[in-house]
Symmetry: C2
Subunit: 235 residues, 2 copies
């Protein structure tokens, strides 16, 4: 089956969690907006008669199916791409981990835009600094410490043990994004989460992921979307 | 099966989405922290040897299973309580709606604590006012307008058509919470979403829900957790 991914063409954003899964599996897919422009996203959202109208991108079209919400797309795609366990309880567990990553992604975004997305970063610097301070003091240790614990319990090298799942690819992306947004802070923090970093390194070396990261299909990090670098926040 | 819900004993919070589903189904459950104190939550989170350690409450114990993340708990519970469709595609669709409610809940919380949860509301009033303004100008119309559209597409009276699901109960809770937190703003807004309000009324009249709401099991709204009333934010 050829999958169609609908996501903004100029950012990694939430779409990247889907792209990484499709790439690791060597799936046949089109990144539709990169081919035909971002207008296709709203066209799909507004499409008349769609029984399951999406709220927002990312959206996956698979035949007649239209699925939205990042973690929900991965829940459906995972087994089809060989990136989820067979057993139902384990499958829900991977989904649970993905939902915790989803929560973390919101908090990462809000470091640079805590007050509102309708103001520029430059209009909310003091609030962004305060939010970022608490994010690194309390939230990063809680979230990444949690994934370190999960890797200890699973016996590694992956979150569920010996088989790679889409949640591992997403955790890789979290590390990459934090390194981009907060290079100094992340450098200091990484020694506390050796298992998470080892997982990141292992993902980066997988042949299909390495090829993807080196290709033009991987959109560079930028100053848009979730992952941004603002010097005042890297303390 | 007797279900055990682990959630903070003094707030509705995210646990309420689970409580409403258990109550509507007339399920046999214990609200564990209300019986034995909030300490049980951390005990469960820190329990040695747990293969699927939760990140945070709410947590559902069902026999030996330990499941966390509100939407994930409902994904698992829904079919067991008769509150989810039988068909896999429809079941994922209800989950997708629940994940959109999850996103909305974060935004509701952040109206009163946009900068950080480690400051009091009183220390971030100007930011909270700005956030709340944009929330009511852009986000409430987008989210609740979306659910109004879903109800139009489904033909009603429920989000998926003729059968009640857990997502309907959650949407009821969203309306109740917005009425509590922003009575004036919500009153003005409600005429734009007649189908959502009709759904809310229909849920409130279901015998088990009505009995629950009138009982001591329903924790009152307060100034803690997601749902709070601050006069300066109700413009």
């Amino acid at each position: 089956m050829r999958y169609e991914l609908y996501y903004w063409s100029e950012i990694q954003g939430r779409g990247e969690f889907i792209r990484l899964a499709l790439e690791e599996a060597g799936a046949d897919y089109i990144d539709v907006a990169r081919k035909r422009g971002d207008g296709v996203i709203d066209q799909l959202i507004e499409r008349k008669g769609e029984k399951h109208p999406p709220f927002a991108a990312p959206i996956l079209k698979a035949g007649k199916r239209v699925i939205a919400q990042t973690a929900n797309i991965l829940l459906w795609l995972g087994p089809r791409l060989g990136l989820a366990p067979k057993n139902e309880a384990e499958r829900l567990w991977v989904h649970q981990l993905q939902l915790t990553i989803t929560d973390l992604v919101v908090e990462i975004h809000d470091t640079h835009h805590p007050v509102t997305s309708w103001l520029y970063f430059e209009e909310q610097i003091p609030s962004a600094k305060r939010r970022t301070k608490d994010f690194w003091r309390y939230r990063v240790p809680k979230f990444l410490g949690y994934f370190e614990k999960v890797l200890t319990r699973s016996g590694g090298p992956w979150l569920t043990g010996r088989r790679l799942t889409y949640a591992d690819l997403s955790l890789f992306q979290i590390v990459e994004g934090l390194r981009y947004g907060f290079p100094k802070r992340m450098k200091r923090f990484e020694k506390k989460i050796p298992k998470v970093i080892a997982l990141r390194d292992r993902v980066a070396k997988r042949p299909r992921i390495a090829a993807y990261l080196a290709s033009e299909r991987r959109i560079p990090f930028s100053q848009w979307g979730i992952w941004r670098y603002y010097k005042p926040l890297d303390g």
